[in-house]
Symmetry: C2
Subunit: 214 residues, 2 copies
């Protein structure tokens, strides 16, 4: 399984934003929508072996589970509407603690999208138990292509803002990798990581008899 964790530093925690102004009033939820697209969207298919955590303001976490996802389209607006539904479910979660207890702290707002009151520390701990290695994507890291990678890897990325000192402190033990000489958007980083893993662990996938194991 592949796991991505994206930190949304300014994303709204309530559903009261306009779908017509995702960069502004929604606190750059457009960035997070593009990360959802990169994590899951294939041409006429979804990546079922991937999970994505969006950690909003270190307080609320949306978990997207590829094997269960439905209703996901590639455009930003419809993804933002799914996030809005999840944030509405969070308000229900806050109002009815029994719901949280039943779902081990999470509720599923639409198929494959779960919301909980968790911050980065809890998410790192859960993700670490699900992959062989958790990696911090950081411009100061070693080149990804030269690194050994497990098929079951997790990657932590930041939105349009730098990691905060407190976040880096929580992740000080993680290996750091970078993708190239330029500073890239988080969603573009996810695309590049997927491609690297596809090429290394593509399960012998082939086109026209030409194997893609490189």
């Amino acid at each position: 399984m592949r796991v991505f964790i994206v930190l949304g530093h300014r994303a709204r925690l309530d559903p009261g934003f306009s779908l017509n102004d995702l960069p502004g009033s929604a606190g750059r939820i457009d960035v997070l929508c593009r990360c959802v697209n990169s994590a899951f969207c294939l041409s006429h298919d979804l990546r079922r072996d991937t999970e994505l955590y969006l950690v909003l303001q270190d307080q609320v976490t949306l978990r997207f589970v590829g094997s269960r996802l439905r209703h996901l389209n590639p455009d930003e607006r419809s993804t933002a509407a799914l996030i809005q539904r999840a944030l509405a479910a969070r308000e229900q979660l806050a109002a009815e603690p029994a719901l949280a207890a039943a779902g081990q702290g999470e509720v599923e707002s639409t198929p494959g999208i779960y919301i909980s009151h968790r911050g980065l520390r809890e998410v790192l701990s859960e993700a670490q138990s699900r992959v062989e290695e958790l990696i911090l994507l950081h411009e100061a890291g070693l080149p990804l292509r030269q690194a050994e990678l497990a098929a079951d890897s997790g990657f932590v990325l930041s939105d349009h803002l730098e990691f905060l000192p407190g976040e880096l402190e929580l992740m000080v033990a993680l290996p750091k990798l970078s993708l190239g000489p330029l500073s890239l958007h988080a969603d573009h980083c996810i695309v590049i990581v997927h491609n690297e893993l596809d090429l290394r662990f593509g399960s012998g996938a082939c086109y026209n008899g030409r194997r893609w194991d490189m």
Copy 2:
């Protein structure tokens, strides 16, 4: 210079679509907006050495010129608004042929975005004169990573639909390359190509003293 040519098979040719429904009424202009993002957006910067052609229904071409681009934000909606302005300028172009003559068939609708009445054949011919090699990105191609590439390369991609037989016929002489074992969205392909070229021709860019020439 890097050049990308994306074929938009169903995109509207007039500006009368709703920014609230880019996948539907606008004819999948959301796909093209994401290609604009991938072609130009860096973290807090734009790729100035890139040009992108969006060829709509083989009739109308939008040319985005990185060195002149302004007002480009990464979100789909604001990019769609720029495309809408270009399509409005096209109507002016059709009404006033003198404008087209003055601009050699193109008008600049906002800084760095030009619109013209050109189809794939004309665009291929112009692009071929500007790069060392034009390449067709196609699932049946050889692996990109194993191919020789020039720093000044151009790449032709299709939107969410397959290339049409007539399009493939025009490009029969182009080398074909592919990116991996899975069928990817056009905007994701652009991200991967940029990364490959960044790593090969990164102008000696380095982080923390570690050179990125690989």
